[in-house]
Amino acid sequence: MSTASQSKATNAANECRPSLARGLWALTYRELKKWLKDPVMLIMFVLQPLIWMGLLGKSMNIGGLFSANNINLPPQIPIPGKDVLSPPGLPVVVLNGTALAQTFAQMGSKIMENTFGVTDYFSFMAVGMVSMIVMTTTMFSGMSIVWDRRLGFLEKVISTPVSRAAIIFAKILNATFRAMFQASVILALAYLLGLQLSSSFTLLNLLGVYAAIFLLGVGLSAVFIAFSIRSTRMERPMQFISLITMPLMFASNTFFPTKLMPDWMQAIANVNPLTYLTDAIRRLTILPLDASALIWDFTYLGLFAAVLTSIGIVLAWRYLTR
């Protein structure tokens, strides 16, 4: 090697200033570009919660159970005098059935409100669907690390001086951005299908919604990336995802409030991060504002994200280079 080419080579080495931010942006940008080039997948992802929301949410008309129409009492309800304690001695009492049905219906909406916080079940479960899409989106994009390994892309990235943390964070960020975008789509669709916003809702609340989704998205994708980081096959993470989605969804407040669940199930629901995301979004959209409950939700989500991301990073350091 001549002196000239040697000095050229030395300069080249000095030019390399791999930074976490630069690498992180490059890798995230790559994934986002890939994602935008594949709109079919995007639609597929939105479709599933849309079907749940449209069919299940609309058919499970729990509010309708308590409507005056459904109670359907005859206009006049005669009651024998001996059944009436006070005033005594009347031969027969006739109740106004229509008025009574009205009263029951009013009680019904009170029951709905006590149970779900809102009078229509659709609004309640539509918000649950936002959590669901956050969960499925982050899970599946966590698996893209398996693809990268299979295609050799991961090994190439590892052989460059880019920060190892950037490799993992890019995956996490990408999954989270997707989840945030798809959650917006679901929220918009839910609104079109009849989601009832609370009177305290302002556009500012949307920022809170995104913050909550961001926290859960980061935490959940870190879990799935950590789980699939050593995998060279798709089957294992797939199996894991199909195993875990149903319990996570049902043992939470996604479809039904936790307070009516049996104790053991409540115990699961109370540590399930999905519960906290759903609760936070409900409080920010369809329920009246309750600051203390919101703070608790965000604290839990924040801790969840921080702890799991740290675990993810540690595993990344440990296992990216074998």
């Binding site: 090697m1 001549s2 080419s5 040697q6 050229k8 080579a9 080249a12 080495a13 030019e15 390399c16 200033r17 791999p18 930074s19 630069r22 690498g23 942006w25 490059a26 890798l27 790559r30 570009k33 890939k34 080039k37 594949d38 390994r149 295609l151 050799g152 892309f153 090994e155 190439k156 990235v157 590892i158 052989s159 460059t160 001086p161 880019v162 050593r230 995998s231 060279t232 280079t321 074998r322």
Partner: protein, 334 residues
């Protein structure tokens, strides 16, 4: 800077505590040379390269690239090397240009320099007109060239090529060799490559190490290795009907003479120089040579000599090879 750009001492990789992929190998690569690892599939070539490029950690022993330890100073190593892996690793959904810029970002090369260099490299590997096409639409040869361009984005001092022509047709293979030679000339790089094509090792490499079952069997330049076999084969026929074995044997450099079907099969070192001497010696005694042929031993014979089998014999069927790769990958992951 030392003359030894790459140095491996007792480098060993054991997967799953039992599968010995690389077994205490020692070698060094000198500055500016093309050094080839030659061996059948599954001999440990890729595992060795992966340890040198810091993707795998050695189980035992050590290795250094430009004086940087591949484990302790992995990040320094990564900055000065270029890697062209065996697989097509470019992102199929991105264009060729986008892929090169992505690589530049991973190395942290300033944007303006990266853009200029990306265009230069695309020009070098003749992909300029396809720069904005998705890699998905590229042919095998084009992808290989794109991988080369990506591996050069940081102006590496040492370039690692893992089976650079695997799966390419003969024409594309020859074109790829041309690129590699041009790269070496233009950038003065040291190149470490693996291959299981004998003709490739012969055509490109300054020095070769033959590796089999994780061990280096012999190291040397292709001609040294061929010479070590005892030389070339000279076959001559003479006009006269007489036994001239002793006359031939007395010529310098001749090692073995055998009479076969009226012609003489001679094993001799430096065949090109020895053949005229034999003709001269025979003429002085009054014999006339009517026919002469000179065969240089190929690496195939070298390989046969050292491993005890032809490299073709060791090439498993495609399916068996695929299964082997999967097993190895799982072992590496686990």
């Amino acid at each position: 800077m030392t003359d030894e750009v790459i140095k491996a001492e007792n480098l060993t990789k054991i997967f799953n505590k039992s599968l010995v992929a690389v077994d205490h190998i020692n070698f060094s690569v000198r500055e500016g040379e093309i050094f080839g690892f030659l061996g059948p599939n599954g001999a440990g070539k890729t595992t060795t390269i992966n340890m040198l490029i810091t993707v795998l950690k050695p189980t035992e022993g050590r290795a250094s690239v430009l004086g940087f330890d591949v484990v302790k100073q992995a990040n320094e190593v990564r900055k000065v090397i270029g890697v062209v892996p065996q697989e097509y690793t470019a992102d199929e959904d991105l264009t060729g240009y986008e892929n090169i810029i992505l690589c530049a970002d991973l190395y942290g090369i300033p944007r303006d320099i990266a853009k200029k260099r990306a265009l230069e490299l695309l020009e070098l590997v003749e992909l300029t007109e396809f720069r904005d096409k998705r890699v998905e639409t590229y042919s095998g040869g084009m992808r290989r060239r794109l991988e080369l361009a990506c591996g050069l984005i940081n102006r590496p001092k040492v370039l690692f090529l893992d089976e650079p022509t695997l799966g390419l047709d003969v024409q594309t293979r020859a074109a790829t060799w041309e690129y590699i030679r041009r790269l070496k000339k233009e950038y003065g790089m040291t190149i470490f490559m693996t291959t299981h094509y004998l003709e490739e090792a012969d055509a490109l490499c300054d020095r070769i190490a033959i590796i089999d079952h994780g061990k280096i069997i012999v190291t040397g330049s292709p001609s040294e290795l061929k010479d070590s076999l005892g030389g070339d084969i000279i076959t001559i026929t003479i006009k006269e009907n007489a036994d001239v074995t002793d006359i031939i044997r007395s010529v310098e450099n001749v090692k073995e003479v055998r009479k076969e079907n009226g012609s003489y099969r001679i094993k001799a070192a430096k065949g090109e120089a020895t053949a005229p001497l034999i003709i001269e010696a025979l003429r002085r005694k009054g014999f006339t040579v009517t026919r002469l042929s000179l065969t240089e031993p190929t690496l195939n014979e070298v390989y046969l000599e050292y491993t005890g089998r032809a490299i073709r014999d060791t090439e498993e069927s495609k399916e068996a090879f695929r299964m082997h790769r999967i097993t190895l990958r799982r072992a590496r992951a686990g």
